[in-house]
């Protein structure tokens, strides 16, 4: 347990270091004089002259050596002082606070959906290995894995949004805007986890304790639910750790395609607009979300496997 927490804390530190350093470099290499830019943003381009920009420069310490500026940049970061957006002028932390809610909804819905679709489809295939169903599921899973999330998102948008007109294709107004983006992500995730579940279930189904449970007269349902699913789900949960990369990357992509007002969408827009404080803030939030999801998977593993609890 302590080891796990330490690992995740180290990961968080690495996220902050990478994002902070790259954002500082981004600010440093951005063409033009930052003091002029900030002064224009504060007082309006008409009110600005060299005296005012010099004042801003001195006030913000922009005339300091680069190392000092870097340390003060990282100091602000650690105190969650993320600055103001260069485009809207609003505090970054405020914007992120709004967007994070949407992103969490999307990520959690997709995650839960994938946990329903993937393992169930996989468990049935694992109980009947070699059957027609098993083979069809294999083809579906292999095919889905080769479709990038953005292509799947566009296909869904075209079929369910434009042709059938069942669901909205962009923006956010209610739960119906959540359906297509979360299914896009969930299917990609489920394609991977269903195969892991299938192999695990196949292994469990031939294990002595499983056969014994049958012999002692338990119903099929009890055998599968009590002795099968729990044991077979351990590799799936362990594998979820690897899937979190796909989930977080997918959130960025799918939000951008569906114009979903979350962090990933904001990150891509901030990059196009070269809004460095927003790039830093949104990247930090996504990185933080990644660490958080990884920790959740760690806890699920501990919960499922008592052996890990004793070891940790």
């Amino acid at each position: 347990m302590k080891g796990l927490i330490a690992t995740r804390l180290m990961q968080l530190v690495a996220v902050i270091l990478i994002v902070g350093t790259l954002s500082f470099a981004l600010m440093y290499f951005l063409p033009g004089d930052p003091a002029l830019r900030i002064a224009a943003g504060r007082y309006g381009p008409d009110m600005m002259d060299n005296a005012i920009s010099d004042m801003v420069r001195a006030e913000l310490g922009l005339d300091q050596p680069i190392l000092v500026r870097f340390l003060s940049w990282m100091g602000d970061l650690v105190r969650f002082d993320l600055g103001h957006s260069l485009v809207t002028g609003a505090p970054v932390i405020h914007e992120i606070g709004l967007q994070l809610g949407y992103t969490l909804w999307l990520a959690v819905t997709a995650f839960v959906l994938s946990l329903v679709i993937g393992p169930v489809a996989g468990a049935i295939a694992g109980l009947f290995p070699g059957s027609v169903y098993d083979r069809v599921m294999l083809l579906v899973a292999v095919g889905l894995r080769a479709v990038p999330p953005f292509v799947l998102a566009i296909l869904f948008m075209m079929v369910f949004g434009v042709t059938l007109r069942w669901l909205p294709t962009a923006g956010f107004g209610g739960w119906e805007n959540l359906v297509l983006p979360s299914f896009t992500l969930a299917l990609g995730l489920a394609a991977m986890s269903s195969r892991v579940m299938r192999d695990a279930m196949m292994g469990v189904a031939s294990a002595p304790y499983f056969i014994h449970a049958r012999y002692k007269g338990l119903s099929d349902r009890a055998v599968v639910m009590r002795h099968g699913v729990r044991n077979a789900s351990l590799p799936v949960v362990t594998y979820l750790g690897l899937q979190m990369v796909y989930l977080v990357e997918g959130v960025v992509v799918v939000e951008s395609i569906f114009a979903f007002p979350g962090i990933g969408h904001a990150l891509v827009h901030a990059i196009i607009a070269r809004d460095v404080p927003m790039v830093q803030g949104t990247a930090l939030a996504m990185g933080g979300l990644f660490v958080l999801l990884n920790s959740v998977v760690d806890l699920m593993c501990l919960r499922l496997d008592p052996r890990l609890r004793r070891a940790a």
Partner: protein, 281 residues
């Protein structure tokens, strides 16, 4: 007898493959898909004399099957056939170069870490852990922020992320082979490090590295097309498959097949590479 003896140093999975199991059904299917695709991507542009950027406003959104435009045209009257061939070539070459840039240092550093151990190994492992702290796409996006729309940072970011997988697997496999009796025997016979690396470690790494390389190429194809589709990767009018899909989206109701074509090209390329890779152990 000789044969099993010479295979003893190989990892179990690889030894099986060498015994005739390399060409699985999945791998054969992968070859069957990728050979015609690559022929289209590399021989196609030589045979097609249409410029993929040439616009013709008299022939906009012509459906596939037309005599002059076999695969139809897009919203600027550009030949879909030419754009697809050039796009597939661009995607494949970029992905291949990226994967190669990740693989060479990844494998060499992996061998170095396992062979030297100590501070070098710990430093490299820490470095790879730091890279993995963020999802790959986030790292690439942060680097892309320096110069959106250019291949330079995109390439650098992808290679920077993808080398880690090569490094990790190469390190673990090398460490395992280094402690095997065959390496010890070779060393006792007086052969040098160079001989051990080229004659024992390289062959042992070949199988897993081919698998990783095919996966990395597929990931790079997905990443480049995805980033182009969300307007931070390569930009129109470059015939990039992801950018083509998004460009054609507003014309979906008039020309649904034109969107499907670049989508199918990406799907088939990635599918073939994943099939070629075989199972990730």
């Amino acid at each position: 007898m000789m044969k099993t003896g010479s295979l003893a140093h190989l990892p179990a999975g690889l030894a099986e493959q060498q015994a005739g199991g390399f060409w699985t059904t999945a791998r054969m299917a992968g070859v069957a898909i990728i050979v015609p695709l690559l022929a289209f991507a590399f021989i196609g542009p030589m045979l097609i004399d249409t410029d993929p950027l040439a616009q013709d406003y008299d022939a906009v959104l012509i459906p596939p099957g037309d005599a002059a435009h076999i695969l139809g045209t897009d919203h600027f009257g550009r030949s879909m056939l030419a754009r697809l061939a050039f796009g597939a070539q661009l995607s494949f070459v970029m992905a291949f170069v990226t994967a190669l840039t990740a693989a060479v240092p990844g494998i060499l550093l992996g061998i170095l870490a396992a062979a030297r151990g100590g501070l070098i190994e710990r430093g490299l492992v820490a470095l790879s852990d730091i890279v993995l702290a963020l999802p790959g796409l986030l790292l690439v996006l942060l680097l892309l922020a320096f110069a959106p729309g250019q291949f330079g940072p995109l390439y650098l970011g992808l290679a920077l992320y993808l080398w880690v997988e090569f490094f990790r697997v190469a390190r673990i496999e090398t460490a395992r082979v280094m402690t095997s009796p065959s390496v010890e025997a070779t060393r006792l016979l007086g052969f040098g490090r160079f001989y051990i690396v080229t004659r024992i470690i390289f062959p042992a790494l070949a199988g897993p590295m081919i698998t990783l390389f095919a996966f990395a190429t597929g990931s790079a194809i997905i990443a480049v097309s995805t980033l182009s589709a969300i307007h931070v990767g390569l930009r129109p009018p470059t015939p990039e498959l992801g950018a083509m899909i998004v460009e054609l989206m507003p014309y979906y109701s008039e020309a649904p097949l034109q969107i499907m074509m670049p989508a199918a090209a990406i799907f088939l390329l990635v599918l073939a590479l994943q099939l070629l890779a075989g199972r990730k152990s």
